[in-house]
Amino acid sequence: MDNESQYSGYSYKSSHSRSSRKHRDRRDRHRSKSRDGSSRGDKSVTIQTPGEPLLDAESTRGEERDDNWGETTTVVTGTSEHSISNEDLTRVTKDLEESTPLECKRFVGPALGGCLSFFALVTPLAFLILPQVLWRDALEPCGTPCEGLYVSLAFKLLVLLISSWALFLRPPRATLPRFFVFRCLLMVLVFLFVASYWLFYGVRVLEPRERDYRGIVEYAASLVDALLFIQYLALVLLEVRHLQPAFCLKVVRSTDGASRFYNVGHLSVQRAAVWVLDRYYNDFPVYNPALLNLPKSILSKKMTGFKVYSLDESTTNNSSGQSRAMIAAAARRRDNSHNEFYYEEAEMDRRVRKRKARLVVAVEEAFTHIKRLHEEEVASSPKHPREVMDPREAAQAIFAPMARAMQKYLRTTRQQAFHSMESILTHLQFCITHNMTPKAFLERYLSPGPTMQYQQQNDRGRQWTLVSEEPVTSALRQGLVFSMRRLDFSLVVTVTPLPFLRLGEEFIDPKSHKFVMRLQSETSV
């Protein structure tokens, strides 16, 4: 019933542009369902997965994706002017081809739930109103007890309405690949419950035209009571059960090893994935593909260390044994690439620190050029007419002296893909408006922030794929490993249970804190 869609339509490309990635996250069911691994001129690969969620295991899909992915990866090593224009080009082409409307499938589940709850809420009222409408004359009048029941019914319905609105009427933040088991269970329960009440109502009340109106009102009141209890059950299952921590999840990003530990309660694998992804956007430093690789100079030296030529084709055993011996010999040979890596790292650190120092000084100087104009100063300085600027103009005015230092620093730390000049100007304007110091302005650039900081606001959503060997609706347990894969990196999650704590007690009498000096006496005899 609660058929949340799974991720179909998965396109990524291997130029690691963050701004154009938002356009790639589309689930597109209108494309053909063939698996298409061809690469176009701008190196983008589209992979389509079938629409039914229940058929294939996700792990096999993950492997197939792996194969295609390996072929078309390119590595962005240095910085060049060409890379920027390439990104612009791909961004433009993506804009042209992605004009599909907002995917409505994510609202199917909540809509269904809304219908069901509306039906459930209207039912007691229908139970009360139908006899009045259909055979009013034959009904026995009932006095005060009925009125008491009416009042309690009204208030209980109000409570149900408000709590349903508060708890369940929220826009969903994620769509899960498989049914959300508890939610399905509850919806089925509510449906069966209300249906059975209607059944009994139809048989016992409508058919024989029951005259005891008080009984009917009590019947409706019992339905509302039961609905309240089901809502309590829903509250416990959906909202409360996963709050008490039971497992520790270790989340490691596959590309650069950034890792975090989180404590979660009892969740299914897919819900735990959503939970982890919520926190991924806040806690993990942003993924920077330009920082991944050792410089080519070091790697290439290692790879061209030796060459193995097998001259003897007939005896394959001997040649493999020989090549193994040669590999071992080459490994034992003195390998200095770690030396170069060390010096390269030290040089890189020095360069970054130098650029950072220049940037900080430039920004500090730039900030001294402007100051905030207070109201009373406007009239008090007629002999020094200063040009009054709004924040945008002020930002543009002081941006020029720091632009070069900023650009060089961003290039050295390979962050230039994340910050365009426009974004820097906007941020500068923001800082000036809020009276921030140069250091506050720079905190955004000096350390890589969480991914959330670099997101553009849109409602299209982020495409993640859950890869797991277990069915994703199974509960977390010790030793479970699953991963969330995105276009060019994945997060691998390992589950360990939290240790059971045996807390003992030891009472210390406050009067028992006594001390003596250490003795070293000398006695003469």
Binding site: R518, L519, Q520, S521, E522, T523, S524, V525
Partner: protein, 130 residues
């Protein structure tokens, strides 16, 4: 001196007999002691093992009875008149040495040079105290 927990203590000792000297109303021996099981063994400058809580001779009055009898600074007193001094409190040690009805104290003391002397002269018969 060897000290292995759980094993009997073995040491090369020297027997020293001191005659107490009457000085006014007191009988004095002419040396000072330090150490004891209620004292801080880390402060002892004479012990090799800084967890040794034995009684050590910390000062000798030059020309006093102890000096004449052959007691030296840094000696560890193992027995006094047959009473063990390796596991006693400081006050107990003082009392054992200053009994008013005894004129003579017979000490068994040990020092590092004794062991070395025994090792050098292999033919000597060392007195061991357990």
């Amino acid at each position: 001196m060897s000290f292995i927990p759980g094993q009997p203590v073995t040491a090369v000792v020297q027997r020293i007999e001191i005659m107490k000297l009457r000085h006014g109303d007191n009988l004095i021996l002419g040396f000072s002691i330090g150490g004891g099981i209620d004292q801080d063994p880390g402060q002892n400058p004479f012990s090799e093992d800084k967890t040794d809580k034995g009684i050590y001779v910390t000062r000798i009055t030059p020309g006093g009875p102890a000096h004449d009898a052959g007691l030296r600074m840094g000696d560890k007193i193992m027995q006094v008149n047959g009473w063990d001094m390796t596991v006693v409190t400081h006050d107990k040690a003082r009392k054992r040495l200053t009994k008013k009805d005894e004129d003579v104290v017979r000490l068994l003391v040990t020092r590092k040079s004794l062991e070395q002397a025994v090792k050098q002269s292999m033919g000597g018969c060392p007195q061991t105290v357990t």
